[in-house]
């Protein structure tokens, strides 16, 4: 390991600019002549629009233009799309309603886009929006996930019973047979609470049009600018792909919510041409709560069958997934292929069958949010495993160990083939760090102080590095999920890496440079990572699903291999040796068995001056590109243990210890990885204890600000004990598995398993707020009082 190579805890290069306020986010871009867009949003969850009178608004001071859905339709601008086709059990394609960027005839959630005002200033745009007269016929709304299919309200005409699809995965007959054989069946009902992503930077967009060249530019808060360009051009049709440049500069967090292509950026690009001026929109926090795609929102019933020895025989799951009022870009994949294939957890479960009903409601669209499907699956598996162990009177750690998969590769009954892992190693290490053997003493000590102490496990697995393009294509994905990279070596030997991954908090400028430093033997300050601009990077699939290490860096590694191969040729000419005798080691191209060698920079210079070889023998220059398509998903896994104490008088839960032992494969930068684990746990604890989007029955978002939507704070979290185990991933050249979502996936069941352990019963839902825990603690006390 070199000081800046793979495995070194290098400080993040990008932090200098972030912590000194030098970051450049979309809202920092102001274009000459720029006007401001403000979206008039629906105050109702469900209403027919009888008419919209924009007349009074158009004559307000500073107004440049006012547009409605009719204007988009007149220009043949298509609706927003969902890029993953899911088929129902009966083979029929999912029933997706239209998703216009500005409402046409109907609004379907509070915050839905009714019209846009473009004005000289934002304040003028807002003033004018107040003057738009909309005649609404308010309709009853449906908000409840479990009730949606039975509700007397229909959100989309094309979707009877508000049902988008009835999907399934696994083997029903084998699962039924397993349950028939079972000695014991454990049942559980779960709600996976709806979350609002809340990245620190709200979404923003600046659209610009150059009539001279007919070129469009969109600055946008995107995790995948090329996908945005593809969707905006090929599907929505705002501009031809080769005429549209999408720039996603510094982006302040996404957590999934900035993967999707939304109405606002669509309208900004389109309107820039209409009004012949750059058009800017920046979301405020209220708009973010109302209109960013939310996460999770599942209602699940699950059952686990075990035999007389406590071996798991089968799992059956029924989930209703709320997709909100419209299908967001990847929404259909989240409760299906990102969910059910993870239901085997770390366990050898011979038979699994999962049914998912996806429903429309009059709520904000729901799509991928940190973990996307995998937290939901892990919550089902880990709550159920813990409950089963308790019902069987077995130690939850040993029950897990007994059922762990130990032979690899392992094909689960739900598509996935796990490549490698050592689950017991993580468990052992976690038990050690958590001092599990003395837990009972600590519990008694708490009891003496009138407190309830509990411990909970989460032995999670996830699938990252999405994914072999053929595989996802066969499952309905509209795109391939490879990644691209281009390595440009300059004549001075410095290197620019153009990547299709996008960094919005992950630290790519550091970790990607570490890979280059490691491979080429040059310091990381000689390496620039270029991303987020479709004019610079040819194509890329972007960053989500912890894929940038396993897929994005693998593409870079592949391109680096080509650079080294070319460098070897150049060196052979310069050193007048045969190519086969050139070795590349420690940043030097040398002739084997001699001390004749050239530094990497010298070879770069020789490649460009091209004096030592003829154009017939070798092309000048040193620049190579690669596309990397993974051969499998990667399977990060680990064990998290949460120990907490409940004050039964108030219901306050205090997390006392947190142990995380993760196997992320090869680690590029342990400091950054640990940071990702910390952030993930914080988000998972947020889901378990604090966060929850609440709509009232009329479809108003009750938790539409930080006054009511509770984000995790430092004070809510203990100091984490983080450990690692490593089984290198065999399916990519770097052995990387991915770490971006693990904490958010692992944490919720660990917290709730600890709470239910403390309470002595399972009757608590997320978020386990003080009120909920107090009430549950009352219930726990009751039998004691009755004795």
């Amino acid at each position: 390991m070199t000081a800046t190579g793979i495995g070194a805890p290098v400080r993040r290069k990008e932090d200098q600019r972030f912590v000194t306020g030098q970051g450049r986010y979309v809202d920092d871009f102001n274009r000459p002549g720029q006007a401001y867009a403000y979206f008039l949003r629906s105050p109702y969850a469900h209403a027919r629009i009888r008419s919209i009178d924009t007349g009074p608004a158009t004559i307000m001071p500073g107004v440049v233009a006012v547009f409605t859905g009719d204007d988009l339709a007149a220009d043949k601008i298509g609706g927003l799309i969902c890029g993953w086709m899911i088929h129902s059990k009966d083979g029929s394609p999912m029933k997706a309603g239209p998703h216009p960027a500005l409402a046409q005839g109907k609004v379907r959630y509070v915050g839905d886009h009714v019209a846009v005002v473009i004005a000289e200033t934002l304040a003028q745009a807002k003033d004018a929006a107040e003057a738009i007269v909309v005649d609404y016929e308010v309709l009853p709304a449906v908000v409840d996930t479990a009730e949606a299919a039975k509700a007397p309200v229909q959100v989309h005409d094309v979707s009877p019973d508000n049902t988008v699809f009835n999907w399934h995965l696994g083997n029903k007959d084998e699962t039924e047979a397993a349950f028939a054989r079972a000695k014991h069946v454990t049942k559980i009902d779960l709600v996976n609470n709806r979350l609002v992503p809340n990245p620190i930077e709200p979404r923003a967009a600046v659209g610009e049009y150059d009539p001279g060249t007919d070129n469009y530019t969109l600055y946008t808060t995107s995790q995948n600018p090329h996908v945005a360009r593809l969707v905006l051009s090929a599907f929505i049709g705002v501009a031809p792909e080769h005429k549209l440049r999408v720039i996603a500069p510094d982006v302040g967090g996404g957590f999934g919510s900035k993967i999707f292509i939304y109405a606002e950026e669509t309208v900004c690009v389109w309107a820039a041409k209409k009004v012949k001026r750059p058009v800017k929109w920046t979301s405020d926090r209220t708009e973010a709560f109302l209109s960013d795609a939310h996460g999770r929102d599942h209602v699940t019933h699950a059952e686990m069958a075990t035999d007389e020895n406590g071996k798991i025989l089968g799992l059956r799951v029924h989930t209703t997934a709320n997709l909100g009022a419209y299908l967001s870009t990847f929404s259909s994949s989240v409760p299906t292929y990102l969910y059910a294939p993870l239901l085997s957890g770390q366990y050898d479960i011979p038979a699994i069958y999962c049914e998912v009903d996806a429903v429309y409601t009059n709520t904000a669209p729901v799509d991928a949010y940190r973990g996307a499907g995998r937290p939901e699956a892990t919550y089902v598996v880990e709550r159920l495993v813990e409950k089963t162990a308790r019902e069987l009177g077995q130690d939850p750690a040993e029950f897990r160990r007994k059922n762990y998969i130990t032979q690899f590769p392992h094909a689960t009954p739900v598509i996935m083939t796990y490549d490698t892992g050592d689950y017991a190693a993580s468990l052992d290490k976690a038990l050690e760090i958590a001092d599990y053997k003395n837990f009972q003493q600590r519990k008694q000590e708490s009891a003496r102080r009138g407190k309830l102490r509990g411990i909970g496990f989460s032995s999670y697995i996830e699938a990252c590095g999405i994914a072999p393009s053929q595989a996802v294509g066969s499952l309905g994905a509209g795109v391939g999920l490879w990644e691209s990279a281009e390595v440009r070596v300059n004549p001075t030997g410095s290197v620019e890496v153009l990547t299709g991954s996008h960094s919005h908090g992950q630290g790519h400028e550091t970790t990607f440079a570490q890979l280059v430093s490691d491979r080429l033997g040059i310091p990381i300050d000689q390496v620039s990572i270029v991303h987020g601009d479709t004019d610079k990077v040819q194509f890329g699939m972007g960053t989500y699903g912890s894929r940038s290490g396993a897929v994005g860096m693998s593409a870079i590694a592949k391109a680096l291999d080509k650079v080294i191969a070319k460098g070897r040729k150049v060196a052979a000419h310069v050193l007048e040796a045969s190519e086969g005798d050139i070795e590349f080691k420690d940043g030097k191209f040398g002739v084997a068995g001699t001390d004749r060698a050239l530094g990497f920079g010298e070879v770069a210079l020789q490649a460009y001056i091209a004096h030592k070889f003829s154009g017939q023998d070798l092309e000048p220059g040193l620049k190579e590109g690669a596309f990397y398509d993974p051969t499998n998903f990667t399977f990060p896994a680990g064990v998290h243990i949460c120990e907490l104490e409940i004050d039964p008088d108030t219901g306050v839960t205090k997390i006392e210890r947190w142990t995380a032992v993760d196997d992320f494969g090869v680690i590029i930068n342990p400091m950054i990885v640990e940071g990702q684990v910390h952030g993930g746990i914080a988000q998972g604890v947020g889901q378990a204890l604090l966060e929850g989007a609440v709509y009232d029955q009329s479809g108003q978002l009750v938790t539409a600000s930080f006054n009511d939507y509770c984000m995790p704070r430092a004070i809510d979290l203990p100091s984490f004990q983080v450990g690692m185990t490593v089984t290198p991933c065999p399916s990519n050249p770097l052995g990387i598995k991915g770490c971006g979502e693990a904490g958010a996936i692992a944490a919720p069941p660990a917290v709730i398993n600890a709470i239910t352990d403390a309470l002595g019963h399972e009757d608590i839902a997320m978020p386990a707020t003080p009120q909920a825990v107090w009430r549950a603690a009352q219930k726990a006390r009751m039998p004691v009082a009755a004795e």
Binding site: A123, K126, D127, T286, D649, T650, G651, L690, V694, V702, T703, F706, N707, D708, Y709, C710, M711, T769, P770, Q771, W774, R775
Partner: protein, 268 residues
Amino acid sequence: MYAFEYHHPTSVEQAADLATRSEDAKFLAGGHTLLPTMKLRLAAPANLIDLGQIAELRGIQRSGDAITIGAMMKHAEVASSADVRAAIPALAELAELIGDPHVRNRGTIGGSIANNDPSADYPAACLALNATIVTDKRKITADDFFQGIFTTALDEGEIITRISFPVPAQAAYAKFRNPASRYALVGVFVARHADGVRVAVTGAGSNGVFRLPEMEEALSRNFAAEALDGIAVPEDEMNSDIHADAAYRAHLVGVMARRAVQAAAARS
């Protein structure tokens, strides 16, 4: 935010005069309540009279058996005041529990009391400590001042200049924070005075801050947490929202009252 006229008087007299002369005027203190409502376009005063440059509204004095705090004193200033810490430590601790550092370094005691948010902390201190709210026109006892949520005895254009807190024998404040906003979900301020105990509750009541006479009587007889045993807090006047329903709030009032009494009794 809509456009408004901004004024920055340097005396209370000027401020009062501006308020009577200008149409639709509002005083601006720390702005931590007023400005967000204006940004959300829920409030749209035509004239904003900033009290920030008025020296008379600042300062903390200890005189005999009272602490007097200028209306424009920020929460952080009250929290760190040596005089307040020495005379009424519970008041300094309460100020320390408000919001976060940003809020404590902008928000003012006068703004908090004038606003009378049902979840604000200071109203409980005022009521339990039997404070006197001094305005440019008169003196109002806390019992008369707080008149229901966001409602006070202040007349249009009346300015709070200072608040005077009698120093109690013992006092403490126990706050149960709303997990999201950090305001009081339930806050109970208990103060033992020479002539009896006062117990004030904020956050919980559907009609704003209130006193609990039954607890006050019991504690006046015996200033110990056990004195509260058997005293039930009625649910019917409790607030109910997604964070806490009436039953939970009523329960928490009891728990916080006990904790406050324990903390106060432990003080010499």
